[in-house]
Amino acid sequence: MSTAILEAPSAPVAPTSPEAPVADKLTKKMLTADHPTWCPGCGDFAVLAAFYKVLEKLQYPHEKIVCVAGIGCSSRFPYFVNSHGIHFIHGRALPLATGISLSRPDVHVFVFGGDGDGFSIGGNHLNHAARKNIKLTYVIMDNYVYGLTKKQTSPTSPQGFKSKTDPIGSIDRPINPMKQLLASGATFIARTHAMQVKHMMDIFERAILHDGFSVVECLSECVMFYAGSFDDSMPRKGGVYELIDETQHDVTDDVSAFKLADLPSPGKFGVFYDVDRPTKNAMEQRWIDDTQAKQAGTRHKDILKKRLEAMR
């Protein structure tokens, strides 16, 4: 066991990119933590299982995985993953994760949350994390309802949905997550379904490997407070699960992505948008590197000394 303290030579963080997979095999067993507190039948179980499997495939070093969440049923996620995890306040998981991502380029940041956390109380942060293209992956488990607080209207609840805060049925127009994300400037936007495990895993893997802000809306049914919400996209309930055909849809074309997002429920599933744009992480690091290069190895203490001497 090493007790050494890593002294960063010039920067407090050695600005390395996430490490390559290592030989020490990461297994689902190693990643399993507390038994989830979700209700039996909750869609989130499948999301968790898919996440384990993708991590098993990607084989990142165990200690470099960080799970972040805000508040909500799905935001309990980090407790169920045996990795570095931080459970934050309602709606602010993304800025917290931004702080981790920007200051620690050596770790992999995963953010989990629900529709309330992401689109309502944290809506502003989603727009800004997306436009800044922060390097992280955000999975929004969308159940169209507030579950933890026992059935209030959510920003994605369809009009007419009866809840404790809308006894006559929801009045407000729900947001369209795909359209909102497209407008925000996110560089990887996809939609999947908790009951489609194979598809969900494929989408998660692509999202994680994307170099930038990747966001996945994952429909995940709340069996307690909005049972049947996604029946129209579940083949075994008589619905249709239609995938985006990427030979027909250009994922770099935001206008056609916007049109896809306009399809009536249940819409299509898959990658709506996927482009390469420099991340804030990379651009900030370039500034740091350029600045450091100009100083030609001057010790940090001496830089501050000179700054103070200029006040003489």
Binding site: A4, N82, I89, L96, G99, S103, H128, K301, M311
Partner: protein, 593 residues
């Protein structure tokens, strides 16, 4: 001006002088005030400045006041010895601030209606016209501040070479013609015949220390943060905090760090907590309105035991209030502003120099106690310039490190028997079990726990570390009499004026001392032993005396010590304390029984 000797008929020697410049914010009076303050630092003198700035975009009436002295300067001056006015409105608004028999230099092209009162000497000089004549071209009245600087240099027989050097260094960064014009205007002012009022000279400065710096509180606070090892953080712009985030944004890349502008105050504090959770010493900051917005996340940081520095450059009033005025009305918000019992440390620097050391201490305490540390600065301290001894970086520099060492098998993120030391992402766990950091009440491993006994134990753990700090803090020093009639208590930027008030009260024969609390939460234990030696304890602070008659610190002291001797001298006019306001307030308390 306290006159000492008169060596020649036309030259009066001074120990100190207060100069007030009054104009509009776009006239550049802040720049020339800054030049004079820097000159003071370079000529072994002491200085304290005071400025007002309009909170409007297009500018408006503005003043810059300097108190220059050969000895110690503790306040910005109740009234000025010399008033320089650029406009009629400046004259009308500020003549009252000139002492009886003082000298008023006015722009004779602008000020036409003069009042003959209180033996004030008026000297009209066409600042604007003379500047235009000196500089020529189409520069119009730009540069009249430099004309006035030259004028003051001549009147006070200041070190012209050093002053020109300071000006040249500042303007030299810009293009050559700007420096040339500035110096032309300066020379015109320097050579302008001011008539038979005579000139002044300062006694030799007493501050002989080798390296003396002069700057403002915000700038020095930022330098302190860098020295303390801060490399990351995030903030949202707000007056008067913004200069700190602007300097951090520009400076941190030199140190391998990064300072990020967030979309709002909630995001700013959250990003900063993210960087702190990642193992860095991180800082966020704001003014009162922004601190209010950060409160939920600060409660989280107490609960999750995240080390963090938060700076609040206080301004005036509730709500948007007075963005460019001073007040100390965020003390209770800083200590108690969040929901739940969430212990955190609150500190306040006493002067510009102390901004450096308080930042260092905040970094040390945040790490040691793994909790948020709030620094309460204020608008006056943030913008005023003082001269002070250069900090010894070899002694104070903290090299930041990221502790990614593997944590031993018995590691627990929230061990009950010790202060929390988080394992940042990237640290391996010998046990194979990874820690969860959380704002839910939790057990020692970071699992959510609603167990009543566990909540009590964790509440004790979070509180007791601050009880321990309180017991470790030394009693603050006493200035003046260590027993007697009155002990004045202050916190924050009122340090100098309170000390000067003690001088005045003692010179009137009262037995008076003062003490200054830099640690406001927790406070040092056993303050009551100090208080027992005085008849009155008077807490001097820039906040409202409230419906029960006590300012915010006074209320806390009364609540914790239950001592009815504790009284308040408070005000909230958005201005710093005048010495006579404190002295009068204290005298009133001494005489009422």
């Amino acid at each position: 001006m306290s006159t000492v000797t008169a060596p020649a008929p036309s030259i009066t020697t001074l120990r100190n002088a207060v100069i007030r410049l009054a104009g509009n914010s776009q006239d550049g009076i802040q720049s020339i005030g800054g030049f004079l303050a820097r000159l003071a630092g370079r000529t072994a003198k002491d200085v304290m400045t005071y400025m007002t700035i309009p909170s409007t975009i297009s500018g408006g009436p503005s003043i810059f006041q300097l108190h220059l002295g050969s000895g110690e300067v503790l306040h910005t001056g109740d009234e000025s010895d010399v008033l320089v006015v650029f406009y009629q409105h400046s004259y009308d608004d500020h003549l009252h601030a000139l002492k009886d028999g003082g000298i008023c230099y006015y722009d004779s092209g602008e000020v036409t209606e003069l009042k003959t009162e209180r033996g004030i000497h008026h000297i009209g000089i066409p600042f604007t016209q003379a500047t235009i004549e000196a500089v020529g071209g189409s520069s119009r009245d730009r540069g009249k501040n430099m004309f006035v600087l030259g004028l003051l240099c001549a009147i006070f027989r200041l070190d012209k070479d050093k002053l020109v050097g300071i000006v040249s260094r500042q303007f030299g960064k810009k293009d050559e013609s700007i420096l040339r014009n500035a110096l032309l205007a300066f020379d015109a002012g320097y050579a302008y015949p001011v008539g038979d009022i005579g000139s002044f000279t300062f006694e030799e400065g007493e501050h002989k220390d080798e390296h003396r710096l002069s700057t403002d509180g915000n700038t020095l606070m930022t330098m302190g943060l860098i020295a303390a090892g801060v490399r990351y953080g995030s903030a949202y712009p707000i007056t008067p905090w913004s200069p700190i985030m602007e300097i951090l944004r520009a400076e941190l890349p030199k140190y391998g760090g990064m300072y990020v502008q967030a979309e709002d105050e909630l995001s700013a504090v959250s990003m900063t907590i993210g960087a702190a959770y990642s193992g860095h010493l991180a800082v966020t900051g704001s003014a009162g309105p922004g601190l209010s917005l950060k409160m939920e996340a600060l409660s989280y940081a107490s609960m999750a035991e995240i080390p963090l520095i938060v700076i609040n450059v206080q301004r005036g009033g509730p709500s948007t209030g007075l963005p460019t005025s001073v007040e100390q009305s965020d003390l209770l918000q800083a200590i108690y502003g969040s929901h739940g019992d969430c212990p955190r440390i609150v500190l306040a620097p006493k002067d510009v120099e102390d901004c450096f050391y308080i930042a260092l201490e905040a970094g040390k305490l945040a790490r040691e106690y793994s909790c948020p540390v709030i620094i309460l600065s204020d608008q006056a301290l943030s913008s005023r310039i003082e001269a002070f001894t250069e900090p010894d970086l070899d002694k104070h520099w903290v090299e930041p490190g990221l502790d990614l060492a593997e944590r031993p098998a018995d590691f627990k993120p929230y061990a009950l028997e010790s202060v929390t030391r988080h394992a940042p992402p990237g640290a391996k766990m010998a046990s194979g079990r990874y820690p969860h950091v959380t704002g839910l009440e939790h057990d020692e491993w970071g699992h959510p726990s609603g167990n009543p006994k566990m909540h009590q134990k964790m509440t004790d753990k979070r509180r007791n570390k601050l009880v321990e700090l309180s017991n470790k803090l030394p009693l603050p020093e006493i200035y003046g009499d260590t027993e007697g009639d009155v002990l004045l208590i202050g916190w924050g930027s009122t340090y100098g004026p309170i000390k000067e008030s003690v001088n005045r009260l003692r010179s009137e024969g009262h037995k008076v001392g003062s003490t200054h609390l830099r640690h406001l939460h927790p406070m040092p234990a056993h303050l009551d032993t100090m208080f027992a030696k005085y008849k009155h304890i008077v807490v001097v602070e820039l906040n409202d005396r409230g419906i029960y008659g006590y300012g915010q610190l006074a209320m806390l002291l009364r609540a914790s010590l239950a001592d009815p001797k504790i009284q308040s001298v408070c005000k909230t006019d958005g201005l710093t304390f005048r010495i006579r306001e404190i002295v009068t307030g204290v005298e009133k308390i001494m005489t009422t029984k």
